[in-house]
Symmetry: C2
Subunit: 197 residues, 2 copies
DNA sequence: CTGTGGACTCAAACTGCAAACTTGTCAAGG
DNA sequence: CCTTGACAAGTTTGCAGTTTGAGTCCACAG
């Protein structure tokens, strides 16, 4: 019971450890990250890290999980920020995704998964891009059905799925600036959504 | 002059050599293909092969080139076959692309290029997927502007680019049967094309 | 009790090196 | 013109021997 203090310390440890791991992964890649480095960065013993995460793989999984959650939350926030303007909302969300992928190596790796050639950062075992993409899709679908209940459900699903795929495609093979790409995709999506059935 | 007979034989050699190389690449992967194997399959000496293609890389380039040309031609044919019905035309073209990617390892590799993890078939040096995709886009754009001159040029370009990207996306990460995917994408494209500007 | 640091095991990764193999070229012969 | 055989240069393969780093155990300290 009364161990809520411990819980907080434990959580602090997890957070700082994941922060340290994030930095190390971004710099050297997952394969070169040593448990000892992470422990040292946190200022804790290697053993303590093992007590908390169990294994390096589990640390990696936790890291990817946190990154995924933050990313999906971010997308949802961008949408919510423009709940009144559908086109702006989509533009913001797509722009956010493109910018995150360009900025954050982990997000980039998670979204494009199999592409380990550029920067093999992740344990392929722990992740495939599928879960992130479905999570992102769910967020978008929820937003659309909530703000625009008049739209056909099937259409919303197909357009959302395509929007997500197109965003990933533009991450993998960019042809324009993130801003212009985001605008193009959102107008495209809006046309498809509001077209005569 | 008067060597048109030679020309034909030479062409025959190129064709059968590329056929043999195609089969070997599909079975063992490009790295494991030996120039001797190709020569033997054609029934010709290794030197003759070198006289014709110069190097293994150039043989690979020629092979990829032929495959690309055939693929793009195939897409154009599918479109032309339904010149009267836009939706059917797009469905056929996308379906053709999906089926080719599923059937022909070389087409799959060319279209998805960088993804060498599944079946590293190609010399990364000789190809990137970009040229194929732009070629395919050009074919689709030409078809659309020819059959539907009323459509806005910018819209046609964006929709086509997205259509191509979505097709590749569904090759990389399939979620449904090729037929249904093709139908979904064509209705999506049609909606976007014919939406109020 | 919980965290620490050191000792330890074991499998995977890397190292150095020799043998086998391939590419690409050349010359002799049909 | 094509083929066969030979060859240099470069690469891959197989296999010692070594190193590394994950994961575990434990005696000890706060």
């Amino acid at each position: 019971m009364g161990s809520s203090f411990r819980q907080i310390v434990r959580q602090q440890l997890r957070t700082t450890a994941l922060d340290a791991a994030h930095r190390l992964v971004s710099e050297r890649g997952w394969a070169s990250v040593r448990m000892g480095q992470v422990a040292a960065a946190v200022g804790v013993s290697r053993q303590t890290l093992y007590n908390e995460f169990g294994s390096k793989d589990e640390l990696g999984t936790a890291l990817v999980q946190r990154e995924t959650d933050q990313f999906v939350t971010g997308v949802a926030e961008q949408l919510a920020r423009h709940a009144d303007d559908l086109e702006k909302a989509v533009t913001a969300a797509v722009g956010y995704a493109l910018e995150q992928a360009a900025t954050n190596p982990l997000v980039h790796a998670v979204l494009t998964s199999a592409r380990t050639d550029t920067a093999g950062l992740l344990p392929l075992l722990t992740t495939r891009s599928e879960p992130v993409l479905t999570a992102a899709s769910t967020v978008v679908i929820d937003f659309l059905t909530r703000t625009r209940p008049d739209l056909d459900t099937d259409t919303v699903e197909i357009v959302t799925d395509s929007l997500v795929r197109l965003t990933v495609s533009h991450i993998v093979l960019p042809t324009d600036t993130p801003e212009r790409t985001a605008r193009k995709l959102s107008t495209l999506a809006l046309r498809a959504l509001t077209a005569p059935h």
